[in-house]
């Protein structure tokens, strides 16, 4: 067997992930710039605050990635997030065991919403974009029913522990000598939402991507006919993709409840999260045509979007100007990904 040089492999992998690498570079530049100009830049406090603001959008962006990989769009991710948010504001309290059941209920509700989306798309033979426009309205309806006006009761300790650094978890629940243990010191400063984000990616997304079902999702987006001809189970993969999307969106809503200690069936917020999730997915290097991209890229995309608003705060940009600037920055970021079009020599291929 011929040995291949590690360099060639690396080059191939890099060339296949140009979009993701670009997004990482944009994020790094923006975030370092932000910290340099922040009076308390590069401090744990700033990192914790930023992580808190990122988690929910990152989850919704991961949720959006799956339908986009199939070649569709999910307009209900914000609604699922909102529904689970209102549910969490009812169930995340009481004894630890009750809270655990509440947590499970929230996760299950998110996954169930996604499962319903998947079934409507697969068995109703509807385009994802229109199917989820309808189901999204239904989910918002449930959310309004659960929480007609903002409020709710989320366990304070849990809320505090999950939205700070690891030290606070240890201090709140009394392990690692209340967070004072010497071995714990090295990691005690890490923000909890950042850890949750990494755990979600590593424990849920990565195994999915390496499963046959996950592979099938990519295959469908790349060429549904070829996937079918290869004897893959198309329907199951589509339903699984939407279900997992619902689960991610639900986790986002759950976290939002912890962050705000309440639930709110906020319709404009749901819409904004949905649209931002699409932007994050595209900025993260995922093709709207399907088949190419990763949820990790979407996390980076969410980071990029949030970092833009962080910078607004530092420079005290007039709020009236913010949407304008945000729009231009987004347009520029997305255009970078479209540069490949310049290399296409057969103009018919542009219309794939």
């Amino acid at each position: 067997m011929k040995t291949r040089s590690a360099m060639t492999d690396l080059k191939i992998r890099a060339s296949q992930n140009v979009g993701l690498l670009t997004a990482i570079a944009i994020f790094a530049v923006f975030y370092i710039f932000y910290n340099l100009n922040h009076p308390r830049g590069f401090s744990t406090a700033v990192l914790i605050q930023n992580s808190n603001e990122v988690y929910a959008l990152a989850m919704v962006a991961m949720a959006q990635t799956l339908p986009v990989l199939l070649g569709g769009l999910d307009l209900s991710v914000g609604a699922v997030m909102t529904l689970v948010n209102t549910l969490a504001s009812h169930v995340l309290n009481g004894t630890p065991f009750e809270m655990f059941l509440g947590f499970l209920a929230c996760v299950a509700a998110g996954a169930a919403c996604g499962f319903v989306n998947g079934c409507v798309v697969v068995y109703g033979r509807l385009q994802p974009i229109i199917a989820t426009l309808a189901t999204g309205a239904v989910y918002i309806g449930f959310a309004l029913f659960l929480r007609p006006s903002p409020g709710g009761d989320v366990d304070g300790d849990l809320s505090w522990a999950m939205t700070n650094d690891l030290f606070e978890i240890a201090a709140t629940y009394g392990f690692a000598e209340n967070g004072e243990a010497a071995w714990f010191k090295t990691i005690a400063w890490i923000p909890t939402p950042l850890v949750l984000l990494i755990l979600t990616a590593v424990l849920i997304w990565m195994p999915f991507r390496r499963s046959v079902t996950g592979r099938t999702v990519y295959a469908i987006g790349s060429g549904e006919g070829a996937a079918y001809m290869s004897g893959l189970n198309i329907d199951r993969a589509k339903i699984a993709a939407f279900t997992l999307g619902g689960l991610f969106a639900g986790l986002g809503g759950l976290y939002l409840a912890l962050q705000t200690s309440s639930g709110n069936a906020d319709i404009p917020q749901a819409g904004a999260y949905t649209l931002n999730s699409i932007a994050a997915v595209v900025v993260g290097g995922t093709s709207l045509l399907g088949g190419v991209g990763t949820a990790v890229g979407s996390i980076i995309g969410a980071l990029v979007l949030r970092t833009i608003s962080f910078n607004f705060r530092i420079f005290e940009i007039d709020p009236l100007l913010q949407p304008l600037i945000e729009g231009f920055v987004l347009l520029a970021a997305v255009s970078l990904g479209a540069l490949r079009v310049l290399k296409v020599k057969n103009t018919l291929e542009l219309f794939r």
């Binding site: 191939i12 499963s211 592979r215 790349s222 070829a226 004897g231 020599k345």
Partner: protein, 538 residues
Amino acid sequence: MRNENEQIASKPGKPTSHQLPHVVLTGISKRYGGVTALDTVDFACSRGSIHAVLGENGAGKSTLIKIMSGVVQPDAGQMSIAGQPVVFPNPASANAAGVICIFQELSLMPDLTVADNISIADPPRRFGLIDSRAQRRRAEEVLASIGCEDVNPLSRIRDLPLSRRQMVEIGKALTKNPSVLILDEATSALTAADVEKVFDILHRLRDQGLSILTISHRMHEIEAIADMCSVFRNGRHIETFVEGTRTNTEIVQMMIGREITAHFPPKHERPPDDPSAAPVLETRGLNWEGRLTDINLTVRRGEIVGLGGLDGQGQKELLLGLAGVLKSVSGEILINGKKTSVSSPEAAKAEGAEIALIPEDRKTEGLMLGMSIADNLTAASLGRYSRFQILDSAAVTEAVRSGIERMRIKVGSPEDPVSTLSGGNQQKVVIAKWLLTEPKIILLNDPTRGIDVGTKQEIYRLLRELADNGASILFYSTDYEELIGCCDRVDVMYDGRIVRELVGDEINEHEIIASALNIEGGEVPDFLAGSDGQGGAV
């Protein structure tokens, strides 16, 4: 370069012909709408044998293998494998029974890597998850076994050239451990060296007892590998015989069932070619992305020039380049002796060029399937019926009427969606659409593929009529007979170059096939100096 003796020598001892049949089809029928694709077909193939299926387009070969591999279901009839009756509701069930088909339209996912694709149906797993290292090893092994060590398993299919993709497709099929292997034109894009490797593999598999079914239009390949041949015509199984027991002429006769040239309109004497007049279309040294190399050709007024050669030798790219679809084409295009730059299909149909391209795939490039027949007919010539963007509906109606009448398109109402028409009538709509632009230069990319014999004949007559009325036609066809029957000259392409120009009596099957395979390799192609005075530095 390949040579006949080697091919025959490389076919080790033919197996005995009286083996027990392995796959047996009895009384299989299949209709698509009003068209009978298969008509009570009985067919069988044995273990340890390579069985070639021959027939014209539309003879029912594709339907036969689609039924065998579970893609379509027969309307009537039974199938059995090793004596057991089987029913395949989908490709997965056929795969599970060991029937693996390598389709002409590749079944690879372009955005996935080579390794992903090879193991797509049943990847190696550890703890339930795909083991990417094992998957890569498997890909490396299978690629090595078919002599494709140059393909990196990490590459995306999209980034591979067509010939490599086809080898990956073959590798993918082999990993599924087939007992029945079906190849549908699986060698059409391969280089000669790859074909050799594939044949070696097929012989090895045959000797291991596989039942191999192959569809190919390359007679010499069938001679090289087949043990048995079956000829299909118009959905019927005509005859099965041991390879070598029939002459090529007899086989061709079985395939078409009539005299070869009878259905082509007579070629007229070459039009009184004014040699001083510049050709209507001339190219000088066209190059594009390594897929077209130094293309020099001329088409004169009233001439039908054929493009020949195996599928995928650059013919399609040449036509696209002339129609303004390709970017960064170097070299010159001269129209009526004037250097012209055609930057887009819109520029191609504008005054000064007046080029029409009848594209290869009518479903994606020829028609807007959801729109009406009338809208499709007028799509290319809308500018003629409008003033200040406002369409003159009387002119449009008149244009639609004349288009339908001229091509004798069988329509209920012009407002019906074009998708309701049969394939032949759809193709007539595409042609009529372009004729309404009154083009001077007509480029045709395999216009008769997959349409019925009657419509084909109408198209042949139309082409001759157009040429007689002064159009210049460049006609690519995968069907040798069409080139022989229709064309005044034939330029044969191989690997992105025009390797031979055939004129007059040279336009026969032997010459076309020989030059399509570039068999005279080593000789300097003498046409380069002859036809256009370009000298042709290669």
